[in-house]
Amino acid sequence: MRPHILRHLLQQEVLTPDDAARIEQVESARPFSLHWELKTLLYLGVLLLNLGLGYLIYQNIDTVGHAALIALIGAVSAVCFWYAVRHRKPFSTGETESPTPYYDYVLLLGCLLFLVMEGYWQFQYQIFGTRYGLATFIPMVLFFGLAYWLDNRGVLSLGITALASWLGVAVTPQDLLAHNDFNSATIVHTGVFLGAVLTLVPFLSERYHVKKHFSLTYLNFGVHIGMIACLAGMMALDQPLLYFPLLCVAVGFFIWYARTRASLYFLTVAVLYGYIGVTYMLFNFVRDMDFTFYLLYFILSCAGVLVFLINYKRFIKTDAP
């Protein structure tokens, strides 16, 4: 392919023969990158170690070996943290590059093993007694601290999850629907609150110029937690008159955000959640209509959304043409 393109551009006199020769030389000498393969191996290694050690602990809970095991896990975790601290880049409020290729994975392993160890202590010795809040509060503080200090978005995600479980919600995107009992009003309230807080943080950090590149992580959690909590309030709590306006505000906010920051991800997500909300309201309040009416609703509304999404370029503000 490439040689043909090169010849074509040469014929069109976009390239000089010198340029073409240079490109040809670079192309033929280009080394074979193993970046992705090795990164995947690192990641799988961390995952397997974490899974294996976690299971080992609970399998051996009443045997002699468990003290040795917990010491081993603690030691590995400590070594990981020591490595991370030793090799850290000087702190900055902006974005810093990973000091070494393995850095992110070592830090991640340290954090995950810390969780395993802490969970074991609580299970075996009840070190926090019945103050379960403390058991999630400590990792939360640790992870947020590490994320900001060492500039790591993976650990930030762990921190946000710990924050959410401290507040009592399971919030990883997949768990969000599967493991939460949205019938309880407290969870919905917490979800709305958490969504609002997570959405607010990026604006504060942009204002004060602290770790602006963390915005997407916060917003991604914020948009899903907030919107699903609103939908749950409408459907499971059956209070659509309270939560539908809230959902509209959230959808409006994220569409505004998408428009000003040219973020197509948030545009699509907001439109999808908004459509689910509107459709639910229609089915809830316009009852006993002919089946044709609903089919026509879907056809017309989808056509409308399609026209809106197809013309997103006119809607979104970009500097680039």
């Binding site: 393109i5 393969e37 995952l47 899974l51 294996g52 969780l115 939360m140 993976g154 995600s157």
Partner: protein
């Protein structure tokens, strides 16, 4: 032959190559600008998120429209249902060709993808309805195959190409299962032969300049062929198939399939590195995992937890030392990121982001709010 504007497709490929050269500092800004003005594809190809959104809403719209059509037509016979499918499918293809691809110049926008899938499904279903009710599965598969092939050729669709490969494989398997007595001996080798043939076809096809627009589809087929080749001879697959169909505890030629199970991944990785063939290398790495699972399915050498710990440590150490080695010795291989991501890597990036977020943990459910329960992840690390 191709529904999309060919000069536009060429322009896209030229721009991609030029962009890569510019990133490496081989093209000046003026040259890049000249390429952009001279090769303007003018396609409507939105960002992947918008594409997904458009596909979802197109699907809802089409289903509602089909439902409405069914209501109006007031169907009461099989012939009527088939006619509705044909009519609707025909209308969809007209809309796709003349309007979406023709005047609106969509290319991979979600709308054209969904129209193609929905239209093809309708036409195929129309024929299914017309077929006598006692037809064999083989007849259905043979009927579907040409639609998938034509779809993947005319609309350059990778999913269609994958489906066509799967359909061909199904036809082969259905044909062979009928051969009495010999099926068990023939099937693994037929699978290997088929996959090998398809692999070389896809490889040759990708080298042809005239076939440049089918590069993506052929790459998908090549990937599937590699996977099928390994799976055909994998001991676990052969043993399970033999047990399922013929109640054999141990398949014939067991030694051969055991060697195959371990030799092929090694060969894939070796040749992948030798020939700098990323697809071969990546599939080989995946096959190693399958080989390990296959072995563990028959020989319980170690408890699962210990195996995971050991495996994790080995993987981590392998990657660690390889990266160190590559960074010290500059040469044919490098750890620096390549800009052009292959299909596999795009899929993998998505999977990892998904996976980190839902990691299972062995925390007992004694108390819900225990920290160990919820590991969250880098779901937000990608590019938006």
């Amino acid at each position: 032959m191709i529904a999309y504007d060919q000069t536009g497709l060429d322009a896209l490929q030229i721009r991609d190559a030029a962009q890569e050269w510019r990133r490496q500092g081989l093209l000046s800004d003026e040259q890049w600008l000249a390429v952009q003005t001279q090769h303007n594809a003018r396609f409507y190809s939105p960002n992947v998120f918008v594409r997904i959104g458009l596909a979802i809403f197109t699907l809802i719209l089409l289903m509602a429209a089909l439902g409405l059509g069914g209501l109006i037509a007031n169907l009461n016979s099989e012939g009527g249902l088939a006619m509705l499918c044909f009519f609707f499918g025909f209308v969809l293809f007209l809309a796709l060709e003349l309007w979406i691809i023709g005047s609106s110049r969509h290319y991979g926008s979600g709308v054209d993808d969904m129209l193609l899938y929905f239209g093809t499904s309708l036409l195929v279903s129309g024929f299914y309805v017309m077929m006598p009710s006692n037809s064999q599965p083989l007849a259905y598969a043979c009927l579907t195959f040409p639609f998938l092939v034509v779809g993947s050729i005319r609309y350059l669709d990778r999913l269609m190409a994958a489906a066509a490969f799967g359909c061909a494989l199904t036809i082969l398997a259905l044909l062979l299962v009928e051969t009495p007595k010999l099926a068990l001996y023939v099937m693994p080798f037929a699978g290997m032969l088929f996959a090998g043939g398809v692999y070389f076809f896809a490889q040759q096809g990708q080298r042809r300049y005239a076939w440049r627009h089918w590069h993506g589809g052929l790459a998908v087929v090549e990937l599937l062929a590699l996977v099928v080749f390994y799976v055909s001879g994998n001991y676990w697959m052969v043993q399970q198939a033999g047990y399922g169909w013929f109640q054999l505890e141990q398949p014939p030629l067991a030694w051969f399939f055991w060697i195959f199970t371990f030799a092929v991944p090694v060969a894939y990785i070796y040749f992948g590195l030798r020939r700098k063939d990323r697809l071969l290398l990546d599939v080989g790495l995946g096959c190693v995992a399958v080989a390990v699972f296959t072995y563990r399915a028959y020989f319980h050498v170690m408890p699962l937890a210990w195996a995971a710990v050991l495996g994790g440590a080995v993987l981590f150490a392998t990657a660690y030392f390889s990266i160190r080695h590559l960074r010290k010795n500059r040469g044919v291989y490098t750890y620096d990121a390549d800009s052009d991501k292959t299909l596999l890597q795009e899929v993998e990036q998505q999977l990892i982001a998904q996976h980190l977020a839902q990691q299972p943990t062995p925390t007992p459910n004694k108390n819900e709010s225990l920290g160990g329960g919820q590991f969250g992840g880098g779901g937000a690390d990608g590019q938006f």
